[in-house]
Amino acid sequence: MEVARLIEVTRIYKVGNVETRALNGITTVIHEGEFTALVGPSGSGKTTLLQLIGCLDRPTSGKVIVAGHETTHLNHNQRADLRRSTIGFVFQFFALIPTLTAYENVEMPLLLNGKSAAERRKRVMELLEAVGMVNRAHHRPDQLSGGEQQRVAVARALAPYPKIILADEPTANLDTQNGEQVMEIMKKLNRETGTTFIFATHDPRVIKHARRIIALRDGTIIEDQPGESP
């Protein structure tokens, strides 16, 4: 089953008179349960592509279909709705809310989705367990290491049972060991829950985990092949 489809997607940034063609006619399909790496040199359009799939941005031309919704014509609120229910994000810079504890950060999307207190509690504990953060549940982000923060971020992204998790260089700010740990956790959750993962990365150690590798250059897909990982 497909969870996202991009058809002839182009994204042009305009700053003053300068136009940057960040994406140039991308067409591809993402299927449920994929564990896909988006690779390519800096500036090749990885982040831009994730933002389009994540309904954070709209293409200049072409179509982006996410979970059956054509997103190009959705308004601000409708896109927020779609993100809330369908998409989880993991960012390079461990994007947790600094005033909330690990527990509360994971709970946040559940609150936004109107889940009951009992449901929230069960889900948060289950996820903190899955990322090995139960004993840090009531720590605030500044009391956690980078690896720990990123594990909480993964838990938060998964909380509302999204169809797709989009991770932009999730290991770029982590040392090898922590990066490996986060990748293992994502892979385990992908296997166990069937959630689709797409992650942008430069890191060869990360790429080796992927089951599909899409290579970008100058905004176009130059290669799309199965990964080494089983």
Partner: protein, 405 residues
């Protein structure tokens, strides 16, 4: 339901000093406004009460032709058989006291000095004269039979160097248009606490004043105090006849009523200025908070928070700040007003005219209505001002917000 309050509270706590300082700005603004309002209220009440008690009364009954600016004691301007008229008015339930007064222009001289005064003939035993009787600082009050005594104010006694028992010379404009002069003995010296009034009047017994000025058994007016001043119009209508004009305290104190209205408008302007300044401080705090949290707002938007929820989050923050501010400011303003309501401010003689008499000491009066109005206004204005940073936060595109590291 998102835990706006929890989030907002923690965000304020993140920059505790900054939050406290901007809350404090609102608190001081609110306290200042309450205090100013209490001061104006005290001032206006004092001016109105003092002027009524000392000068105009709630009602004055005068001859239809009487002109208070001339103070003529020519017979055609005066009331005949004033005691009888006063006694009749006194029988009305709404009337607390009614007393005849004869008012003439005069000049007091002692030694080389001479001062222009109003000579007021009073029925000494009447309660209408309590403010002078109670304000006696030296000597004795007048009696109805006193044919030689004069009562003078403390400022006048001071400037002329007079003590009870001393003699002074008094000149009067008489009924037939000439002048007469006699020597009187200072019987007593009074102070009503209103220098502007005390320095310009002297009292004689009504009988003596009538003889001295040639007014016969007539009086200039009947001075009337009511139990409730709001009944002034009703009582005036009841006692008015073609021969008499009846003036109410509102008519006689037009200037004061005007000043009151004017000062209310003036207060509204001050309120807006002060609240404008405090709102600016709060907006500034929230704007800083919005810019610092650009990324955080982006994260919240990315995980599906809608614009109106982001607005609600920032407004909640503003509401918490405003609540703390106005609560503390309200308490402070109330405490200040209560303190100066007891102790008062000493202003001395403000040199007001007899149309607007003011006690030398002003006591603040904070009404519940003014307090509630101001506190609510401060709260609402703060929230309205906070809409600007809140909407600014909500308008941020999540992409831009996330990139803005």
């Amino acid at each position: 339901m998102i835990h706006y309050v929890k989030l907002a509270y923690r965000n304020l706590g993140r920059h505790r000093r900054r939050s406290i300082l901007s809350g404090l700005a609102l608190a001081l603004g609110t306290a200042l406004l309450l205090f100013i309002a209490a001061f104006f209220e005290g001032e206006m009440r004092s001016a109105m009460e003092t002027t009524i008690r000392l000068n105009t009364g709630h009602l004055q009954l005068q001859d239809a032709d009487y002109d208070p600016d001339k103070l003529s004691v020519a017979w055609e301007y005066l009331i005949e058989k004033p005691e009888q008229v006063a006694a009749q008015i006194q029988t009305l339930d709404a009337v607390a006291v009614a007393a005849p007064r004869l008012i003439a222009n005069g000049i007091v001289s002692a030694g080389d000095e001479a001062v222009g005064v109003q000579i007021i003939g009073i029925a000494p035993e009447s309660k209408a004269n309590d403010p002078y009787r109670d304000g006696l600082v030296e000597g004795q009050f007048l009696t109805a039979e006193d044919r030689d005594g004069i009562l003078i104010g403390y400022p006048l006694a001071n400037s002329l160097g007079l003590k009870p028992g001393d003699r002074l010379s008094l000149l009067v404009n008489t009924a037939n248009g000439s002048v007469d002069e006699q020597v009187f003995t200072v019987r007593g010296i009074f102070s009503t606490g209103t220098t502007a009034y005390d320095k310009g009047v002297v009292f004689l017994s009504l009988a003596k004043a009538q003889v001295f000025s040639g007014a016969g058994d007539r009086a200039s007016l009947i001075f009337i105090l009511l139990n409730d001043r709001e009944q002034a119009e009703a009582v005036a209508a009841a006692i008015r006849t073609p021969a008499y004009q009846v003036k109410t305290w509102r008519q006689m104190n037009e200037l004061l009523v005007l000043v009151n209205d004017f000062s209310n408008a003036y207060l509204a302007v001050i309120n807006l200025i002060v609240l404008g300044v405090t709102a600016t401080v709060i907006v500034n705090t929230l704007l800083m908070s919005v810019f610092e949290r650009t990324r955080e707002i982006g994260i919240l938007a990315a995980i599906g928070m809608k614009r109106r929820q982001i607005i609600a989050l920032f407004l909640t923050e503003a509401a918490l700040l405003a609540l703390g501010g106005v609560a503390f400011g309200g308490a402070l303003g109330w405490a200040l007003s209560a303190y100066f309501g007891e102790v008062g401010f000493y202003f001395g003689d403000l040199g007001m005219s007899a149309q607007m008499l003011m006690q030398d000491r002003i006591y603040t009066v904070l009404t519940l209505e003014a307090a509630i109005n101001l506190i609510l206004t401060a709260f609402v204005i703060t929230l309205l001002a906070a809409l600007y940073p809140a909407r600014m936060a909500a308008r941020m595109e999540p992409v831009e917000a996330l990139r803005g590291k």
